[in-house]
Symmetry: C2
Subunit: 416 residues, 2 copies
């Protein structure tokens, strides 16, 4: 293990590009290119149906059917969890649906789900769907903002004896504000509720310690700091103590103890395996499996230290520019304390969309969130301190040249 | 359009292999190899986040965000449906869950779901899950077997005023028995229920005419006769007359009218678009988009004629062999009438597992289903009459040499 976590050579990033959007879509790990070619041409093209059990030139335990378990083993150290607690597959939305229903079934005498108002919209939509199906009530709490307690008081204010589950997005997608996971988990559980964490904007860039935090459930995507490609599969984590009682909403073929007995009655597998539903998405899981190799031998504490250094460097530079251009109403939307911030810095500006587009034109890629947020994600495996300097130089030039007021940027687009 | 639908040169099948397992995992279309390489290396690696709207070297309307709609346009002629009636994404299991809940919400005063006992297990598991969530009852009907009425009487026996939905697997995965879709749909609807078809084992090998049959809903996978690769995404079809009232169980980000407004309340898109849940699985959808190009200019009526000719040729050859080896208890498990049969021939034999393995050893790939079924699928785009001759020669040699009794085949495996 080394403190130097930068390994840009493992990524196929275009020469000269400063890519600060890994919090939306991670860069392409070179290992994925070879792996996907092998899966398509050799395993599918030549191995055909036999590759479910053993693809050509692969060893035992490397069949397509083993992919979810193999990916779980790779994810475990990034989550501070056991591989046997992790299910991989489906979309984040479906994973949230499954865990929210399962959580409410673990607390059958309680009828309230709590989410934070700053949650990612998907989480809100899925929670509303679950409440409608099960006759539950959705209650909102405040996000952590830049409060030094990391959101403990915000959550406490929403707790009572009727709360079954508190489901929070570990890092706020807009501002990068970071919940204090262990402390918040504790107050949630002291109220008899379950604590669930949406890790989409944290895993791969922060030190996540699910076991240490004592959490109950977690869900996350793999296409941001885990670099597994657009629309790659999500993962679900369930603390081992809940495995025997885990009761998901959709019983699937792959969650059956004996799928190939092809019986009409469903006997769920033990543990998180019962969360499996349909046939594993082999191309996507193979890409994910290969993508995670960039974390081989990487110390996540060192990743966090590098991330804090990068965001601090960026914040300091932005502060200087904001002072230089007092007329610009450029301000920090992220918490100033790096301990309360994920691996992302968000700026507020009335022309945030133009600001992002003008930076893209200069080879610095961040993204825009309605109405006035410019987001910059710092993936320490491929973003260097020199990249941050380049980004700040570009921002200085944009502001000096008022490039963000270009009429081409009047019409707004935003994506994932 | 021509009656010659054979285009094996478009597939990367190993030389000399007789692949009769396209009803489980379709062969690799060569177009997929190039397309996946482009998506990974150019669109993701170089285009990065910008490819959601417009990948490098792609035209307008070819962004990742447009993939579900593009694939829907390719699927439409294979389903006898409008592209605006088709949603692509998620697994078959999740698609079944969504349609079964939505169907029951279209018939709120009814409380029974009907499935056939010969259904694929996934359908049964999902229906049981839906019944439990919504307080409905699951009722079984018989399958069509080889009945000349294509299952009309079997379904009629299960209908009453309390049936909300009848969900049937168009082609029986074990025997290849084929429901009479238009006639069965009619009796279901005359009883006031909705008719749903699981097309996993038919689309791409049969002439499917959803509009002409008058059906209400349909679901299907794309990794069998549609050749989109292991675990590729499913599609959902909903008749246009139900679009305004369509109310799926999980409201997702991508099913929102304005996903990038990032609001906490959900306003569903019009039509089948509201079935969209999470971020589209771009690698898998791109592979599917490319895979479907093998159907360009292909007349599905000609595909069906070729399929019937191939299965008739195989059945006749098996009949001869069964007479020659009367001691073998080899019998036809599929309906003898090709009008009542999908693109698959299943044989029953006490050592069906050994039979399949011995054929695989001779380069003829079928598969085994517990306890005594050997299945052979005939994909007319890459299986020729000469392949059927080769398969019959191999079967003759296996039976003559009693190769299926090889002790290596005592332990059984089966996959997808």
């Amino acid at each position: 293990m080394t403190d130097d976590v930068l390994r840009r050579e493992l990524f196929a990033l275009p020469e000269g590009l400063v890519y600060l959007d890994g919090n939306s879509l991670g860069a392409l790990p070179r290992a994925v290119e070879d792996r996907v070619r092998t899966v398509v041409t050799e395993e599918w093209g030549t191995g055909l149906i036999g590759s479910w059990n053993r693809p050509p030139s692969a060893g035992p335990g490397e069949g397509w059917i083993d992919l979810p378990a193999r990916v779980a083993r790779r994810l475990a150290p990034l989550l501070g969890a056991g591989a046997d607690e992790i299910h991989v597959g489906e979309s984040t939305s479906q994973a949230l649906f499954a865990t929210m229903v399962a959580a409410s079934r673990l607390r059958p005498d309680r009828s309230v789900l709590v989410l934070d108002r700053t949650t990612f919209p998907t989480d809100a939509y899925v929670a509303q769907s679950v409440c409608r199906l099960l006759g539950l009530t959705l209650r909102w709490c405040d996000g952590p903002g830049d409060s030094p307690d990391g959101g403990v008081a915000a959550v406490e204010a929403a707790l009572d004896d009727d709360v079954a589950l508190v489901s929070l997005t570990h890092v706020d997608f807009r501002t990068g504000a970071l919940w204090a996971m262990p402390e918040v988990t504790r107050v949630v559980q002291e109220a008899g509720a379950l604590a669930q964490w949406d890790l989409c904007h944290s895993t791969g860039a922060l030190e996540v310690d699910l076991a240490g935090s004592g959490a109950d459930l977690a869900v996350g995507c793999t296409y941001k700091y885990l670099n597994a490609g657009p629309g790659s599969p999500a993962y679900t984590w369930v603390a081992r103590r809940h495995h025997d009682d885990l009761d998901p909403p959709v019983a699937g073929w792959m969650g059956h103890t004996e799928p190939f007995a092809m019986r009409l009655d469903h006997t769920p597998r033990r543990g998180v395996g019962r969360l499996a539903v349909g046939t594993p998405p082999v191309l996507a899981l193979s890409a994910l499996d290969a993508a995670l190799t960039v974390f081989d031998g990487v110390d996540m504490a060192a990743v966090r230290r590098a991330s804090v250094a990068l965001t601090e460097q960026f914040v300091a530079g932005v502060d200087t520019l904001a002072r230089r251009h007092a007329e610009e109403q450029l301000s920090l939307a992220s918490p100033r304390d790096p301990e309360r911030r994920g691996s992302q810095v968000s700026l507020r500006h009335p022309h945030a969309y133009g600001l992002v587009q003008a930076l893209v034109a200069r080879g610095v890629v961040g993204d825009f969130r309605d109405p006035d947020i410019a987001r910059f994600g710092f993936a320490p495996l491929y973003v260097s301190p020199a990249d941050v300097d380049s980004a700040l130089e570009a921002l200085a030039a944009v502001l000096a040249g008022r490039e963000h007021h270009d009429p081409r940027y009047a019409e707004r687009h935003a994506v994932t």
